[in-house]
Structures are given as C-alpha cells and as structure tokens.
Amino acid sequence: MSRETLINIALAAILLAVPIWAHFADEPFIITLSTKVAILALAGVGLNLALGLGGLVSFGHAAYFGIGGYAMGILASHAQDYTPFMEWPFVIEGTNQMPIIWLVAVVMSGLAALAIGALSLRTSGIFFIMITLAFGQMFYYFAISWTAYGGEDGVSIYVRNEFPGLNTLDAIQFFALAFTALMLALIFSSRIAKSRFGLALTAARQAEQRVETVGIKPFQLRLTVFVISGMITGLAGALMADLNRFVSPVMLSWQTSGEIMIFVILGGVARLFGPVAGAAMFILMEHILGGFSEFWHGWLGLVLLLIVLFARGGLIGVLAGKEKADG
C-alpha cells in the first residue's frame, strides 16, 4: 500500500471517528462541524474531477452548489407550506424526502453543467475561468432578484427533510448520510480516474493534440467530466442546505466558488483525498481563528499563499510526497 493510500484511510477514519466520539461525549456542535467538513469535501470532490482530472479551472462551481441548495429549498418550502410547486400542465408537489430532493438536485445541476459546459468549453485558459465565473454570477444575481423564494434573504426550512428509515434530526445520523455520500463519491471518482475515460482525460490535459490525433475528441471528454463534476457539487449543495436548513444566494456567490477551489488547493489538486484534507483544514481554521477574529480570511490568505508558494501538492502532497509518474 502506498503512503498516500494509508494517509487517505487515516483521513477517512479520523473524519468518521471524531463525530462518533463527539456523539458519546455529547458534543453536538462537533458533529455538525464534521458534517460540514464531509459536505464541503463532497463539493470539492466534484470540483477536483474537473480541475484535477480534466484540467478545467472552473470558477463557477458555486452555481451547481447553489442549484443543489435551491432544489432542496424550493421543494421543501412547498412541502412545508402545502402548496404545489406547479399546477399546470400537471401538478408537482413539494417534497421533504431527501432521496427525491437529491435526485432533483443532481439532475438540475447536471443539466446546468451541461449547458454551461457546452458554451464555456469552447474557450480555454483565462476565458474559461471568466466565462464560468460569469455564469455563476448570473445565477447569483438571478437568485437575489427571485423574490418568490426569498430573494436576498433566501429560504428557511423549519424541519430537516426525511430519509426513509433514519431520524435525520439526530446529528450523528445525518452525519452518517453525508459521510456515506462522500465515500461513495470518492470511490466513484477514483474509479473514474483509473478508467479508460479518466486516462483519456489525463492525456487530453497533458497533450491535447496527440489525443485528437488518435481520434478522441477532447471536447466530449471534458464536457462529460464537467457534467459529472457539477452533479457531485450539486448533491453537496442539497446536503449543505439540509444541514443549515437554509438556502440563500450566498451559496451561489463567487466567493463560494473560490472557497470550493480553496478546499481543493489546500488539500492538493488531483489528489483523491485532497478536498477532504482541504475542507477539514478550512473548517478547523474557520472555527479556531474565527473565534478571535471575524476577519479570519486574512489568516486563511496567508496559509494559502504559503501552500501555493511552497507546497505544490497541497496538504496531501506534504504528507505523502510527490505523486509518481502522474503529473
């Protein structure tokens, strides 16, 4: 087993052990923090597929995160008010069932990623960064002016949605859901990276012309990975909305896109567990530094500067050393 695999297992074990300990020590806040780490890591896993594997610097992943969040907010708010979401041409009721909400979140964010990706993948480099940012901002300002769902104030949901067979109001059970989703996404993304599709993507990232020459279209590969990436981040958004029982346009802002990117960079780009390490570090810093200064972003900025300057593989890179034969 390589050193990185050991570190990955250790990270997963810590993320699982801390809330279980907190459960028995009766520290619900720590369980909530751990759940937050798992969910944000999930969003990062999504972005890492596009950024790490596909080499696509998307600065608009908040769009999918927010779409996932709003899928939950809209469906649950209709269930809460007993008003149908739409009546014509057929009646669609709101719902408070997580599996349905997740499905809607994943499908909607996937569709958004398909549309955004199809347009933005025609460009590359700085223009790709900017066009994804622009789409994200459009969703942000749209949500602000969408008064039907709270506009700038967002939507509050009073009771957490339900999952068959579980009591989601129990913090540790909701954590279990988020943790399972994260682990499944990690297994899925490691499978993708090793599949023919993933190898072709890596090749397209490293030498686009060669890939074209052997008859593979990089555009299609990239669009596919972009959509998958958006779906995973969308699922994270739905979970996040359920954790907070609240959705607001902040989820769609470009700062959120930046934060998701920060998880990936802090932890290590293209490293499987990079987003997990990054999100954990982010939340720890927010919690510890946020305690004595609400402007903890300054410190986050310093840490980021150091990581980008001196630790190119992020946290995982520092712990596990260089990745072998896979740049």
Binding site: L133, M138, L300, G301, L305
Partner: protein, 291 residues
C-alpha cells in the same frame, strides 16, 4: 436629460472600471498571470493616499500626497512581483489565480486592521462642487475622473510607443523568448509591469475614493473590472478601457430601465454574450497565443 445625466455618471464609473481593467490587461499581457488582487491593490492605493492627504492623518497637500502614494504603490507592486509572483513561474495558471485571490484576502485583512471597516472619503480640493451646464450637473469629481483617465491613458500610450522601457515591455509581452535574446531583461520588465499596474490601480483608487468612499471591501469591484477586461479582449489596452466604459454606462441605464436586480446581472450578461459571439473579446489581439 435624465439619460444624459446617467451617461455622465456611467462614464465616470466606467473610467474607474477601465483603469482597474487596464491593470489586469497589462499584467496578463506581459506575464500571462491573472491578478485577482488588482481591485484590492486599488483599495490599498486609495487608503495610502487617504492617509497622506486627509486631515485626521498626515494632512499633506493633495498633489504631494497623490504623488507619494503612487510612488509607494509602484514600489510595493514591484516588490510583490519580485518576492511572491516570480516564485510561481512555470506553475499552472490557476496557481497564480489562487495566489492572487489569497493575496486579496490578506490585503483586505491588513486594510481592515490599519484603517478600519467603515467607509471613508478622500478629502480633495474638488469635492462637492459641480458645473451646471444647462440643467445638466457635472460634478467636479466626475470631471476630474474623466480628465485623469484620459491623461493617464494618453501618457501610457506615449510610454509604450516612445520610451525605451515601454517598447521593451511591448516586446516582452509579445514574445518573451525573442525579447530575451535581444538583450531585454525580461524579469526586470515583468516587475516593472507590475509597478505600472500598481500605478494605474492607485489612480483608479484615488478617483474612486474621491468620488465616493472607500472601505476594505471596495476592492471587490475588481471582479466587475475583470468582466470589463474580458469584454475588451484581455489583450488590448484600449479594449480594457472600452470594456470598462461599456459596463460603467450600461449599469446605471439598466438600473433605470430594467426591473430591480437586473442591473447587477448586466456586466456578466454582456460578457457572456461577447464571449459566446466573439470568444476572444471585442478587441481581440491575441490570435496565436494559446495558454
């Protein structure tokens, strides 16, 4: 009349966006780095000027304060390139993006610690007065913004066309390797470009703080200036200015004519349309340069 009035305000705002966008483009052309902290550099430049000029701080004469602030910001930007940015040479583009975003956090943080988080105005000799041209109000501050932008743009033009350093900068941005072979000190040129971008940011900041008020979060307007730079083609200096003016003018117009909320979408909507129709911007200059 209303529309003309909006137009004046829009042009003045657009000049500020354009100046910040100019900084983006300068740096991008010369080093292919994208400086997401350009807006925050503007904010720092404004605060330094404010410290020099305002009565509650040092109370220096306005002109001297402005010149000092510009010199200091040029030096700081130069150092920034030497100490931080150069370390990233050869790393993927998003490393610089993240680095400069992080830098923005840090700058905002220090600005908050030093100058506090309340908006402050720059005390200028031209505050609060206005020309009245047949019912049309042109504030001195707006006039100064437009004139200062024009002067700075023209001097930059002559700087790039006529001076040794300017021509060397052009050469380095078109083909670094060839410029290097011709004996141009490319590294030093990159640092100097950052210094020039620092100067344009400071001028933008001074104008911004003179027209309204500045606080540590003001640098976030950089993201709009970014859209301006993209609209203009990201490789073209006149394009950046034009992009800034487009956004500056469209914003108040949209506020006036469109339903509330939509005016904020406009800069990005325009940028999207431009990117979809002309993927390299309105004033595309980069044809072969693939990143």
């Amino acid at each position: 009349m209303d529309i003309l009035q909006l137009l004046i305000g829009g042009i003045a705002n657009g000049c500020i966006y354009g100046l910040v966008a100019l900084g983006f483009v300068l740096i991008y052309k010369a080093t292919e780095a994208v400086n997401f902290a350009q807006g925050d550099m503007m904010m720092i430049g404004a605060f330094i000027t404010l410290t020099m000029v305002n009565e509650e701080w040092w109370g220096l004469p306005f002109g001297i304060g402005v010149i000092l602030a510009i010199v200091i910001m040029a030096g700081l930007s130069y150092l920034l390139e030497v100490v931080v940015i150069r370390k990233l040479f050869g790393q993927p583009q998003f490393a610089v993006v993240i680095l400069t975003i992080a830098l923005g956090f840090v700058l905002r943080f220090f600005a908050g610690v030093i100058w506090g988080h309340d908006p402050q105005s720059l005390e200028t000799p031209f505050a609060g007065k206005a020309f009245d041209i047949g019912g049309l109000i042109l504030g001195y501050d707006e006039a100064v913004v437009i004139i200062a932008t024009a002067v700075l743009t023209i001097s930059l033009y002559f700087f790039f066309q006529r001076t040794r350093l300017g021509v060397a900068m052009q050469a380095a941005s078109q083909n670094q390797l060839a410029a290097y072979y011709m004996g141009i000190p490319v590294k030093w040129i990159s640092s100097m470009i950052w210094a020039v971008a620092g100067v344009t940011a400071t001028v933008a900041g001074i104008l911004f703080a003179a027209k309204g008020a500045i606080d540590p979060a003001s640098g976030l307007l950089g993201i709009k200036a970014f859209a301006a730079a993209v609209i203009g083609g990201f490789g073209s200096l006149p394009g950046a200015l034009a992009g800034g003016l487009i956004i500056g003018i469209v914003e108040p117009m949209a506020q006036y004519f469109a339903p509330p909320g939509y005016s904020q979408i406009m800069p990005y909507a325009i940028m999207l349309i431009v990117l979809v129709v002309r993927p390299n911007g309105l004033f595309a200059q980069i044809q072969q340069k693939k990143v």
